[in-house]
Symmetry: C2
Subunit: 356 residues, 2 copies
């Protein structure tokens, strides 16, 4: 007898349905996880209002999957079934999941840089995800939650891992001065990761008052409203006139990128995490050659970023709880989740969804 | 009695005069060098035809100097007089000179990154240079030529140091695959430096036939004419479809930069050395975030690049002699040097000027 599970299924733009689907069975090398919480990611919103973007409309080269697909990829839960050949994992283990699907033939995956896979695919986009009662994932994606890390915190590990990856990709060193453009979910996890990495001073630029206040609460040295103050002037005044060592662009917006370039010292680094919808104008002379600035992109995470994130939450160096602004039920994902985030961005950072 | 020396004096655009000037005396911490050879740099040409660019028209913050100024900064010679307080240098020492003037109060100079000084100035631009019989320089700029490095080779150390700095700034590692856009003087010294650094394969794109041939002679794996072949296709075919590890932009031209971006693998590095006269259009999504590519600029050199360059020439790992395409006398600098390079770029890489 096939049992059913309840899941949020993406059929197309503005068409996500809560449906009954056949309950999946873990195959070889896979486990089945009972989902406790799954966070709503900006990517989910982009797929809902502007997609399909990452959700394949043709069979994905790695998974063979295309829409309709169960979405959701920031989650925690318990292992409830272990497939053939899986070693080191047991029923009852509390876990979170690095949703990146590995292509073992890809030259980037083989180097451990799975986030730059040439066939990039994630659970919840290119395979069924975790806005559901249960999800089946390959065992290599699992990361054990420390005993004192709650399921709510566990669902925040995935976004935090994006901030950790950004900080690691930037080469930021202990004692560096930092600028962050944007205090949305990505800006804030980057702030948390930069603090934990020993940043000396962290300046944040963010137009929304509530987000500026949260950034301050989470450890920003100072926050600036770019709509009312000259951010370049303020940051240069506080950094000996030369600028910060590392800037993080967490918006995907040309003026924010220019702010990052303006406030970064010669031979400093600009790490771009924001998703840009269109090209920008860039001056390689002043931006690169004459100033020796470095630029690096950062996308998602590698598996190790999950272990780092869990450890930093577990021992108290990072507190992700203030990022949770609402908890809802799966049945209300569209109205209380997507639509609420769309209408009231200033009220929210992370909404967690529980399937039951 | 004040003796005179012969020197090429820059008075303004297309106004360089061979003049008699009072012979300089080395002050405290300075030495006087009798110039043997001084190469013509692309920067000299830019100053002559489009300048003043780097030559100050107001007193330079470091040197107090403004035009008219004696130009020339790629040189070798003998120490003929040692000023007060100079230790470790003697009359008769064969030397070349790192022309970067250090600002000991600058936060970048204090970190050893003198090429990113906030008051950047060079001999031959912001202070009198070496298209002259004698030049006075601070002793901290001196680098001793190995006994088997000729004065001609000694004058090539300065441009080679730019290539060494580029390779070091790029983070290129032994075994990396490399692409170089442009085989002019900077592209070729970068090629030499990348070969000496253990690059596995080096692909060069260059429209001029003579320069492509020289690149091949100097060790390029393959050379491509971007006006007749699809460089992206050719390089990707030779690099497992993913591209090279490191690309060097040595032109300062948007299509060349785009070539570099196109042929560099995910998480690879694009090092920009070319001087761009204007901004470009750049896509931070495909160029940075989605592909994790790194960008770094490289300008001139640090002092250590001179020691590296001299050592690599001295032990035969780098042969700079094929770069010398003509030797002329100082009296003919404008006609046989600047004008010849301007009219017949395809015939030349480096013209050396001797004052006598």
């Amino acid at each position: 007898m096939v049992r059913n599970l309840k899941a949020a299924v993406y059929h197309g733009r503005e068409d996500v349905r809560i449906e009954d689907r056949p309950e999946p069975k873990p195959g070889k090398g896979e486990v089945k996880v009972e989902v406790k919480y799954c966070g709503i990611c900006g990517t989910d919103l982009h797929e809902y209002y502007e997609g399909p973007i990452f959700i394949p409309t043709q069979p994905h080269p790695l998974t063979g999957k295309k829409l309709p697909v169960i979405i959701g990829h920031e989650f925690s839960g318990d292992i409830v079934e272990v497939g053939e050949g899986v070693k080191g994992w047991n029923v009852g283990d509390r876990v979170t999941v690095d949703a990146c699907i590995v292509d073992w033939t890809c030259p980037m995956c083989k180097r451990g840089m799975t986030n730059y896979c040439y066939n990039l695919g994630f659970n919840g986009l290119a395979a069924d995800g975790a806005f559901a009662e249960y999800v089946v994932v390959p065992a290599y994606q699992l990361h054990k939650l420390a005993p004192n890390v709650s399921y709510e915190e566990g669902a925040l590990v995935e976004p935090l891992a994006c901030g950790v990856e950004g900080v690691r990709a930037s080469g930021m060193k202990e004692g560096d001065t930092v600028f962050i453009a944007g205090a949305g979910p990505i800006g804030l996890v980057t702030l948390l990761a930069a603090r934990a990495a020993g940043a000396r001073e962290i300046y944040v630029s963010e137009p929304m008052k509530a987000r500026r206040e949260l950034a301050k609460q989470l450890g920003a040295t100072e926050v600036f409203d770019p709509t009312t103050v000259d951010v370049k002037k303020e940051v240069l005044e506080r950094t000996h006139g030369i600028g910060v060592d590392v800037a993080f662009e967490c918006v995907g917006y040309e003026p924010a990128l220019n702010s990052c370039i303006d406030v970064t010292r010669k031979r400093g680094t600009i790490c771009v995490i924001g998703i840009f919808p269109k090209p920008v104008t860039f001056d390689p002379f002043s931006g690169l050659v004459a100033t020796g600035k470095h630029y690096v992109g950062s996308l998602a995470y590698e598996g190790v970023d999950f272990d780092i994130s869990i450890a930093l939450i577990a021992d108290g160096r990072i507190n992700v709880k203030p990022l949770i602004t609402k908890k809802i039920k799966l049945d209300n994902l569209v109205e209380e989740g997507f639509e609420e985030l769309h209408k009231h961005r200033e009220r929210h950072i992370k909404i967690l969804v529980s399937p039951k």
